[in-house]
């Protein structure tokens, strides 16, 4: 029951935040912040209370539209709980990072943020395919508004591109869902959208392959992977800071989650055949994304392309069909959420101060704002994959898992580690090091508001880096279910 309340709370708070802008323009910010802090604490309480005997933290299964076999089935296991925790926590980051950024329609802005998050939590907990698709759409539309209304110079183009990519790939998924339900109905005579039932559907391999592709394309578009990644750099660059934080930190993870939760367990055999393709796409994303990241001159765009590279590791991990790889993919999801959120927040903070994202107009910022320099260094180092911080754990587990499956592909993926160093350090040097740019006489350093969030993110990354076991042991029991070793 608790997760339904969580979603309703966010939806409700969104409406309240919207109307509260009549009272005061900062009131919506406070409402959103308090909501996210409260929900984060709530998730922590659930976390520490531990799972029930089935390994579940929450479970709700009610009839919704019985005529079509659609249920209100929300279930939270360890994987879902982690991602929900990440979502509410990054909600705090998003609200704080855009605290002073919005100039118009403050209430509607926070409404959209809260509703995206509600949709995302729904996605992470829906165990009914129709419900899943419903939430998938719920999170899309507020995100579109966030980019289209509060975005930067090219916002119409970027938001439309984002919308079309997600919508068209979502359509493929919808077709696949309906087809799956229909086929299952023909076989078993039961009309249902329930995950547990459909997972066991007795599909012949050709159908399974086709349906898997429908899901797969939708999810890699969201992830994103080469070649359907091109919406991401535009959307990220143009989105307001909160939008980028949410996009990179959480929305991309819904794609990864979809692959882990739906594609692999539901179409197990078809996926196993498909491993070379999955892993190769991952490797290409790692190298191509990394290389393009290096080519960028726009701070935010660079970080955006680096996300594509990091998400490539998730594909490699999942399609290695090993415990190590899957665990690595899950850790990467969490760690990348923290590190990229921080980097996008930094990009936003710089843009708010200098009114540019071009790195050629930065340079030597360390002298102006040493705290921002040190913080950026920390997160660049994290995303470069420094042992002791979270991202390394994820990438290492992915690679060591993948190595057992394919030496060649793993070696290529490992080259990505070098590429990451190239673009990461180049980002650092072009923006913060070197001769201080004379056009930037002054820049406010981070004060309490921004610093407190950054410190939280740093702690989080160190925690994942040196005590990943706290996460690994939670998801360990799930692995056999997710991987479904051939019976």
């Amino acid at each position: 029951m608790s997760v339904m309340l969580l979603i309703l709370l966010l939806l409700g708070a969104g409406v309240v935040a919207w109307v509260s802008e009549r009272v005061n323009t900062t009131l919506p910010n406070w409402i959103a912040l308090i909501t996210f802090v409260a929900t984060t604490l709530w998730v922590l309480v659930i976390w520490f209370n531990g799972p029930d005997t089935d390994g579940l933290y929450a479970n709700l299964n009610r009839e919704w539209i019985p005529r079509f076999g659609i249920d209100l089935h929300l279930r939270v296991d360890a994987l879902s709980l982690m991602l929900i925790g990440l979502t509410t926590f990054l909600g705090i980051v998003a609200v704080v990072s855009s605290w002073t950024e919005t100039k118009t329609r403050h209430g509607f802005f926070q409404f959209n943020i809260l509703w995206v998050m509600a949709g995302v939590i729904g996605v992470f907990s829906a165990f009914d395919l129709f419900l899943f698709f419903f939430f998938w759409e719920v999170m899309l539309i507020p995100m579109y508004f966030l980019i289209a209304i509060w975005g930067h110079e090219d916002k119409e183009y970027a938001s439309m591109k984002f919308f079309l990519f997600t919508q068209i790939s979502g359509l493929l998924m919808l077709v696949a869902i309906v087809a799956l339900v229909w086929i299952n109905y023909n076989i078993s005579g039961v009309l249902t959208f329930d995950y547990d039932v459909l997972k066991e559907a007795n599909l012949d391999i050709a159908t399974a392959r086709l349906l898997m592709l429908g899901f797969f394309i939708a999810f890699i578009t969201k992830l994103p992977s080469v070649p359907v990644h091109t919406w991401l750099p535009d959307a990220h660059t143009q989105a307001p800071t909160a939008g980028s934080v949410i996009l990179a930190g959480i929305l991309l993870k819904t794609g990864a989650y979809g692959i882990i939760r739906f594609v692999v367990p539901m179409f197990n055999e078809a996926s196993k055949e498909f491993w070379v393709w999955g892993m190769s796409l991952g490797v290409i994303s790692i190298l191509y994304g990394g290389y393009l990241a290096y080519s960028q001159t726009d701070f935010k765009r660079l970080v955006a392309y680096s996300s594509i590279a990091h998400m490539g590791f998730i594909l490699v991990g999942v399609y290695s069909f090993s415990k190590l790889g899957t665990q690595g993919a899950i850790i990467t999801m969490i760690a990348h959420g923290f590190s990229t959120a921080a980097l996008f927040m930094m990009a936003g903070a710089i843009q708010e101060r200098l009114h540019t994202r071009e790195m050629s107009k930065m340079g030597g910022l360390w002298v102006r704002a040493p705290r921002m320099g040190a913080v950026t260094m920390f997160f660049v180092v994290a995303s470069v994959g420094m042992p002791g911080l979270g991202n390394f754990i994820g990438e290492f587990l992915v690679l060591i898992g993948a190595f057992q499956k394919s030496v060649v592909l793993t070696v290529f993926a490992a080259i990505g580690i070098v590429v990451a160093a190239v673009y990461g350090l180049s980002l650092m040097q072009r923006s913060f090091q070197g001769v201080p740019n004379p056009d930037v006489p002054k820049m406010h350093d981070f004060a309490f508001r921004e610093m407190s969030v950054m410190v939280l993110l740093m702690i989080a990354l160190v925690w994942v880096g040196i005590y990943p076991q706290s996460l690994l042991q939670m998801t360990a029991p799930l692995l056999s279910e997710l991987l479904r070793p051939t019976l």
């Binding site: 591109k161 080469v226 070649p227 990644h229 091109t230 750099p233 191509y288 290389y291 393009l292 290096y294 080519s295 960028q296 001159t297 415990k323 190590l324 665990q327 030597g364 360390w366 002298v367 040493p370 705290r371 040190a374 260094m377 180092v381 420094m386 042992p387 002791g388 390394f392 754990i393 290492f396 587990l397 690679l399 060591i400 190595f403 057992q404 793993t410 070696v411 490992a414 080259i415 580690i417 070098v418 160093a421 190239v422 350090l425 180049s426 040097q429 913060f432 090091q433 070197g434 001769v435 201080p436 040196i466 005590y467 990943p468 076991q469 690994l472 042991q473 360990a476």
Partner: protein, 623 residues
């Protein structure tokens, strides 16, 4: 209870304090935290070493804390120390402390004093983890950590763009090596099923499948990692540029400790390497080629720190060479003595550079011995050890390597000859460096030496580290060999000193080098201008000066193409996106074509309606 964990914990605590206070502490406090934490760690190391030698066990193990467990994959934070690690730990904390102490004076006028010690302490912590980790992943954590600190400290003066590039170069080039290392880890895990070092060694000794091709591959991958970190051919190009960092950094990271991590790695994985002739040969060859190339390069440099950098490279080459020919103890022994005398040389050169207002060009020095007596004496001692004059520490270690090479290596004559030529070159470039810096006529107007740097009120901060390092550079040889010789039990090869021609030749070569060097660089017997004007020598010196063209090669083959493609516009705009842009273009094209039909004239609509009906009618009739 042997406080093992406290050794790395102390510098870590120092790092955390300095990091969290964001440079708000007064300098005196920063000094005591920065240098003090390493000093305490050194004391503690002494205590642990005493416990170790007086106990019967051959290993000390700390309690462990789970890092991660996935299925059979299981690594934990656990420290594991044997005699080999203990030698490394002693060098790191001992020499490290002296360098930190010296740095409190050297850096006293620089900005970012606290940041400097923050990075330095983090470095010491990472280096300690590297040598104390009981599994390869923990070793890798230290390995990457020291790389990061090296990057941060090379680029310490972050306002100078060249330093930033040097720092990036160092990080990226060593990362190439690190990638080999991490792939080696994957392979070891696949073979052994564990990353525990001791389990791996046991596996290598007892159950490595035969023929051990896999083992050879593992060794070569490990060598790849070692080559990057230790600046050996072909990944050596970053070290000379790394001299951009403050001189204490060069002394600590790029001479005494981090660059010897590769030697430690190979020594640590000894049982793997012992199984593979090919791998051992490769190790020896890498060392030999590096020491040959670097010695020539050092001969023509004009920057005093670059001479020392190339010298470091070649001395590490000796260590690799020693490992490759099976002289494990001699190699480790040389690692230790080299740490003493090279740290001394770097620190002394640092004092010279500081006195010269950051002038590093030796041709602008000259005649400094009177004005800088203390650095001069320090450097003289260091040079004697570097050249391996008898009774200095360098003599004992280098002689041991050369003699073992003669007795034990597969291509004894070739290997020994090359190594001896390099020893001769070592003498030459050392003499050249000393002559240019300290003798002859003063070469520049910059001799307005800062009074205070000559007789600095707190010169104890330089004199004491110099003195202690000088004592170690001389005496380290007598006490050290006993200590290092039983590191590897009976596995290593030892060469006893006998009076035979080879031994005498080995003994005499450094002297010959010094004498020739004197005639070449100091006396008037040789006309140096003639040599310089000679076309061949000019060409050679240019070639050597550039470090045998490696930088040029990598620039042309890798860096430039990479940059070129990255900077073209279409690429920045993502080629894949062109496809989606094409779709967009087609869609809007059809949109425009179709909207042209929408004229708003009723006549036109009527005409198209009738036309359409006609077409349908015709189609029906025909079909």
């Amino acid at each position: 209870m042997h406080l093992l964990w406290a050794i790395p914990a102390l510098p870590l605590a120092g790092f955390l304090i300095l990091f969290l206070t964001e440079g708000r502490l007064p300098r005196s406090v920063v000094s005591s935290i920065g240098a003090g934490s390493v000093g305490l760690a050194a004391l503690l190391t002494g205590y642990v070493a005493w416990q170790f030698t007086s106990s019967d066990s051959s290993e000390f193990v700390s309690s462990s804390w789970t890092w991660m467990i996935v299925g059979e994959f299981n690594v934990s934070f656990r420290l594991w120390v044997d005699a080999l690690s203990l030698v490394m730990v002693s060098v790191i904390t001992g020499v490290g402390f002296l360098i930190h102490w010296y740095a409190t004076g050297y850096m006293s006028e620089e900005e970012g004093y606290s940041r400097f010690f923050c990075y330095m302490n983090l470095f010491v912590f990472a280096m300690l983890i590297l040598v104390m980790g009981d599994n390869l992943l923990l070793l890798f954590l230290g390995w990457e950590g020291v790389g990061l600190c090296s990057y941060l400290l090379i680029g310490f003066f972050h306002k100078v763009p060249e330093f930033g590039y040097a720092a990036r170069k160092a990080f990226v080039v060593t990362r190439v090596g690190d990638t080999f290392l991490i792939i080696a880890l994957f392979l070891i895990f696949k073979q052994v099923g564990s990353l525990q070092i001791q389990e791996g060694l046991t596996f290598a000794r007892e159950s490595m499948p035969d023929p051990a091709t896999i083992n050879t591959i593992i060794c070569l991958l490990l060598l790849g990692g070692a080559v990057g970190k230790s600046a050996q051919v072909p990944l050596q190009t970053w070290l000379p540029d790394a001299m951009a960092g403050p001189t204490p950094v060069s002394a600590l990271i790029h001479a005494a400790t981090m660059v010897t991590a590769g030697v430690y790695l190979i020594a640590r994985m000894q049982d793997f390497f012992m199984l593979s002739q090919t791998a051992m040969l490769c190790v020896a060859a890498v060392g030999l080629v590096t020491l040959f190339i670097a010695s020539f390069t050092a001969l023509v440099q004009s920057d005093i720190k670059r001479v020392l950098a190339y010298s470091t490279m070649s001395q590490i080459g000796y260590m690799f060479f020693a490992l490759g020919v099976g002289a494990w103890s001699a190699g480790l022994f040389h690692l230790m003595t080299h740490a003493f005398f090279k740290a001394l040389l770097f620190l002394a050169s640092g004092s010279v550079i500081l006195a010269m207002h950051h002038e590093q060009n030796m041709f602008k020095m000259g005649g400094l011995w009177k004005k800088l007596p203390i650095p001069f004496i320090a450097m003289l001692v260091g040079s004697a050890a570097l050249v391996a004059l008898p009774l200095t520490s360098g003599f004992f270690s280098k002689d041991a390597i050369l003699l073992t090479a003669w007795k034990n290596s597969p291509y004894a004559i070739l290997f020994w000859t090359v190594a001896v030529i390099a020893a001769f070159l070592t003498s030459l470039y050392t003499v050249r460096m000393m002559v240019l810096t300290f003798f002859g006529k003063p070469q520049s107007e910059m001799h307005e030496l800062k009074k205070e740097s000559l007789w600095h009120p707190s010169r104890i901060r330089t004199v004491v580290p110099f003195g202690l390092l000088a004592v170690l550079s001389i005496a380290g040889g007598w006490m050290g060999f006993e200590f290092t010789s039983d590191l590897f039990g009976d596995k290593g090869v030892h060469a006893e000193f006998h009076f035979d021609p080879i031994a005498l030749l080995t003994l005499g070569i450094p002297f010959a080098g010094v004498v020739v060097g004197y005639f070449l660089f100091a006396s008037d017997l040789v006309d140096r201008r003639k040599i310089i004007k000679n076309r061949l020598s000019d060409l050679l010196s240019k070639f050597w000066h550039s470090g045998w063209g490696f930088d040029w090669l990598y620039d042309t083959l890798v860096v430039k193409p990479f940059r070129f493609i990255a900077q073209t516009r279409t690429n920045r705009n993502d080629i894949v996106d062109l496809f989606f842009k094409l779709i967009k273009f087609l869609a809007s094209l059809f949109h425009h074509i179709l909207s042209m039909f929408q004229t708003g004239h009723v006549r036109w609509y009527a005409f198209t309606m009738v036309g359409g009906l006609l077409l349908v009618f015709l189609a029906v009739v025909w079909i």
